[in-house]
Amino acid sequence: MFSLLFVSLFEVMHLQYLVPLAIGTWAGLIGGAIPGVTITMTIILVLPFTFGLDPLQGLATMTGVYVGGCAGGLVSASLLGIPGTPSAIATTFDGFPMTRKGQPGRALWLGTWASAIGGLLGAIFLIGGTIPLAKFALQFGPWEYFSLFVFALAMVAGLTEKSLLKGFLSGAIGLVVTVIGADPIMAVPRLSFGSEFLRSGFQFLPILIGVFAFAQIMTDLEKAGGEEARAAGPIPDLSVSHLGVIWEILRRPFLLLWSTVIGVWIGVLPAIGGSAANVMAYDQAKKFSKHPEKFGTGIPEGIIAAESSNNANVAGSLVTIMAFGIPGDAVTAVMLGAMIIHGIQPGPLFIAQEPRVAYGIFAAYLLAHPIMIVLQWLGARFYLRVVSVPKSILTPIVLVFCVVGAYALNNIIENVYVLLLFGVVGYLLVKFGFPLAPLILGVILGDQIEINLVRALMTDADPWLFLTRPISGAMLALSALSVVLALWQHRRQYGRAPGPETVEPDF
């Protein structure tokens, strides 16, 4: 294992991989720093640029975006008090007060170094955990895969905050999208209504771009109602003693390790993303602290917990994608989509069949962290300038990238029409209060759910096998349990306060 890892590290250090990795990390830092441009959207926007690259180059770029995006959110969170990404929400709680106390450099670099150290600690689990989990998953037959995908979908839909029913309906709509086109067993065209384009079904990338980009952009435009140019004030002095900052982090080993464990664990679980890891680690740090009353006033513990957990979360998410082939949330769903577009089918056979790419991803993940530190050092002031670019300039440019991304997939204009169609659908779903993550998960997992269901029933027509095979039965029991728990939580949460609420978009 280690020899393969070292070989991959040396391979990714070659310029042909290092440059795309650095560009991806840089794009992630910028995208993460801009409020309203989430990591999901940054991955979607960068993906078309990797179509022409070989799979390892492309996936190194995407890994860089993912790692950089998690760290980028802290720039605007710490220095402007606006979380650049949802996974930097808790960073704002102590990062911004520290900046207001006149220590912007300390706030930024505590977050950056904590991200890097937390991310690298998470790498231990990524590298050590993926292979045993993938070996475990090798025991899976179509029954287990079907149940695993159902479990992932049930978790994501069940954890929808506002309405459980809408969460499930959103997932079901995603599954409906995948039944349009040729059936995966006999290639009979279904529900294509005579359209030559629909005979091959929808490609998921234009759907992802349309749904996420439009839901985000249009919701921002509603709130803005006009231009809300952020004042480009003077850039604060970000100089700091790096050794001092690193020492501040390392002399809190329990906080660092516990936050990392939380981040990794939440990453492994389907349905809970970086924002939950960030907030939960912050909350845990506060509970374990000897001085919880100081949280929120600009203390280093808050920043360290929040930032180490969200980068460790990336490692946990990658484990689930690489070992089982299931995405945990919207960001990882898009990452999984990126892998599929590069010809990789993540899952238990991935590491055995594509060791070069798998270990290349590990290596890219490890190298993305030092690269992120260097790029943060070189460009933090520049990212703050980018944040102040008016929406009137940013919006059309992002939409052009969306069009090019959808078109470049197969060089056909029909994919751009699909982008427009699902842009409207995504926006309407948000306006009707539907969460988008279950929809995306449904679109990405739909084919695999069908293939495994049909394979299982063709192998043995007895449907009870889904329940009586131990792993499959356990997964289905967990799915049912997650639904029951979600119902109970909803009743408890909303049963007490039945009054009118305000509908807010839920991505």
């Binding site: 059309p396 990238f401 063709m458």
Partner: protein, 151 residues
Amino acid sequence: MIGRDGVAGLLGLAGSLVLLAATRGLPQPALVPIGPAFYPRIILAFTALLSAALVASDVLRRERPKPAPARYRLVVLTFAIFTAYVFALPWLGYRLATFAFVAGLQATLEPPRGRRWWLVLAVAILTALATYYIFEVYLSVLLPRGRLTGF
């Protein structure tokens, strides 16, 4: 009287029933027990059931959530301009359509005055040419050529 959830549920119900009816025309293979209609029917029936439940829950609801205040003028305009851009692409070609789209949308989102027009035009030209150059030259993506313009 139904609210937004009810409307969404009815749309979902209608859509899934139409698609469910469309699966009736799918062939049933003679040699294998499971045909191409098997899985779509399960999914569409499940979707119809959830949609009906959403309608029922909305009808039975005593108080409905108030929608967050929003201004839709820019949303509608942006969708309209984007739709025009998408359909203009095959006629005008990527460079011209992108230039017009970026300039038009910028001017709509923040109407320029005086020298800001130059900024609007500069951003539009740069976006059209830079993306064209990167994708065509470096990434070998053949961007749409215009039927009317020939470029």
